[in-house]
């Protein structure tokens, strides 16, 4: 499909995605007319469900690739990572937009959404989350403006944004540092509700730290997927060298987790045999210790599949951790289990489908991915072929 000089190729998978977005939009409309109870399995015992637990908390964490890449590339000036910088920024921006949409769907009195800007409930963690996420989304839109005005020729505006860029970049790292941590702080107040394996005064640290080390893994995953979809050469050497950041940070994460458990005397809970303890062990062994080993063993970390598999584990692990905090850890206090309704799943599916479609449109129309060098393929790792 071509309109003016914009193009969007319509393929069968994309038609399916568009269909999913439409279904989600209709469901959202139904929710706005008949209330949350008509669509979701939420209850007084489970006030927060899939949209907050997955779309918001995981979505924002997965968008962590934006701020960690910005720090590595633009502040530490590791210029060799420039090829992945714009893609990381873009996926981060779309991730935040998904999170904001899910938040808007989830709040009951949505016409009041602007109130926290004026009624300063600064004693609330949510106040910080709200301010930082809104401001950071704005910052990301302005950061993206540079790319936008490169395509839509407006040199004056682009120059203006470039002058602002140092400020935007620094805000674009400080704000997410604050709110990634405060997403963890949200659960600090659930002292007698969240299972002691997860409840800790260090929750904010764990959340921001894991959102940061998730960044390189997410960039690897996105980069590989994009390379496959567009039959390009993945930036494998860059992904491999990024693993050192992840490995170091994950070792620190593991150490602090263990020290924290010991300090709070929660070690015995590890082996209490409850559902929570099993989930915790899976989280730590399968999604933290295992990728650490994979990154640390050269025979694995030198291989493309090794880096990719370990990155998938890291990404899955952060999702698993957030879901454990929101659902597993809170289940006992709620007194009953929660499972999302079909409609909740459909809305989530629709939002992530929209994310993929927007991503495709943007990389196909804006200078985001690096130009292909057309160097001899077969050198280094092979470009994954797709039939």
């Amino acid at each position: 499909m071509e309109v003016g000089n914009w193009s969007f190729r319509i393929t069968l998978p994309r038609v399916v995605l568009i269909g999913l977005v439409l279904v989600a939009a209709l469901t959202a409309l139904y929710r706005f007319i008949f209330g949350l109870g008509a669509v979701t399995n939420l209850s007084d015992q489970w006030p927060w469900g899939l949209w907050i637990g997955f779309d918001l908390l995981c979505g924002i964490a997965l968008a962590g690739g934006g701020f960690s890449t910005a720090l590595i590339v633009h502040v530490l000036h590791r210029d060799k990572y420039l090829p992945v910088a714009r893609a990381a920024l873009l996926t981060s921006l779309i991730g935040y937009l998904v999170a904001l949409v899910s938040l808007f769907l989830d709040i009951g009195r949505w016409y009041n959404f602007w109130r926290p800007f004026f009624f300063w409930g600064y004693h609330s963690v949510l106040f910080e989350v709200f301010w930082c996420i809104s401001l950071y989304t704005l910052v990301q839109i302005l950061e993206f403006g540079e790319v936008f005005f490169e395509r839509v020729r407006a040199p004056v505006l682009k120059g203006l944004l470039q002058k602002l860029m140092p400020l935007l970049l620094i805000l674009g790292i400080v704000l997410p540092t604050l709110h990634q941590s405060s997403l963890g702080s949200l659960y600090v107040i659930a002292v007698n509700k969240l299972h002691p394996l997860w409840w800790s005064m260090l929750l904010p640290f764990f959340f921001v730290w894991s959102a940061f080390f998730l960044g390189p893994a997410m960039v690897t995953l996105e980069g590989t997927l994009a390379a496959r979809a567009y039959r390009r050469e993945p930036e494998t050497p860059l992904f491999r060298s990024l693993t050192r950041v992840t490995l170091g940070m994950m070792l620190v994460y593991l150490a602090v987790k263990l020290i924290d458990l010991g300090y709070r005397g929660a070690f015995p809970r590890l082996f209490e045999g409850s559902f929570e303890s099993h989930m915790y062990l899976v989280e730590m062994v399968g999604f933290v210790i295992l990728p650490i080993i994979m990154y640390a063993v050269p025979a694995i970390s030198r291989k493309t599949w090794g880096v990719l598999a370990a990155s998938c584990l890291v990404v899955g692990g952060v999702v698993f951790n957030r879901l454990n905090v929101v659902f597993t850890g809170m289940a006992k206090a709620a007194g009953q289990p929660y499972f999302p309704s079909v409609w909740e799943f459909l809305i989530t599916l629709g939002m992530w489908s929209a994310l993929i479609l927007v991503y495709c449109f943007l990389v196909e129309n804006f200078p985001i991915l690096p130009k292909e060098k057309h160097s001899s393929p077969g050198e280094g790792d092979k470009c994954p072929e797709r039939g």
Partner: protein
Amino acid sequence: MGRSQAVLVDITKCVGCESCVVACRLYNDLKPGPRAGGEAKPDGPAELAPDRWTVVQSFRVEKDGSRVRRFVKRQCFHCLDPACASACFAKALQKTPEGPVVYNEKLCVGCRYCMIACPFEVLRYEWDKPFPRVLKCQMCLARIANDQMPACVSACPTGALTFGDRDKIIAEARQRQYSRPDLYVSQIYGLTEAGGTSWLYLSDVPFERLGFPTGVPERPLPEYTWAVLRWTPHLFVGWGALLAVMYLYNRRRAVAHSEEEMYAPVDAEE
């Protein structure tokens, strides 16, 4: 907050007549909604709902070798330092100097973080409404401000509910425990829970057997949050300054590059 008003619930004196429930309904003009009371489960205790701000739950418990029946009136505990109010980012929930923690629907965004924060799980949401409110006992603020007692207290025929200055209420509770040490358990529920509440309970059976939340910390819950949140401005300034210094320092070493030549739209037609 020593001046704030409180209610003492003496579980040994409650006969489960539910006069308090009726009084609450009448005074607050609560009409049963579709999800409400009518279809009350025959077994198991009644639960709070958006249109039921107080309920009387019945428990059969073991005491001195025989089974006894005890009634527990439930409603919002009106914490001295309420977690819900500290969690609300729109100031829709506020602690009043008189004692009640009250909800203002005009300010509410409907995020339900208050429900996550409440250690006693008393907040209820209107799940079936397009613009739902968070509802709970308001401790009849208008009556208290008028030097009257809450509607439920005024309706109690057995003296199970006593209203007054929180300090005097605590003294009264201690006096009862002192005069009948054989009857009451030593704990006064609400004295220290979550930093203290405006509803205090006396009982002759341990509270955990009457469905009271256990493990509620004695430290006011907002203090946990504040211990983390108070670092925000320092983190903002300190981390921002550090980044600015690193940025300026590293920029000198940066290699000039043209981003316009580096990136391009990908070709989907291929």
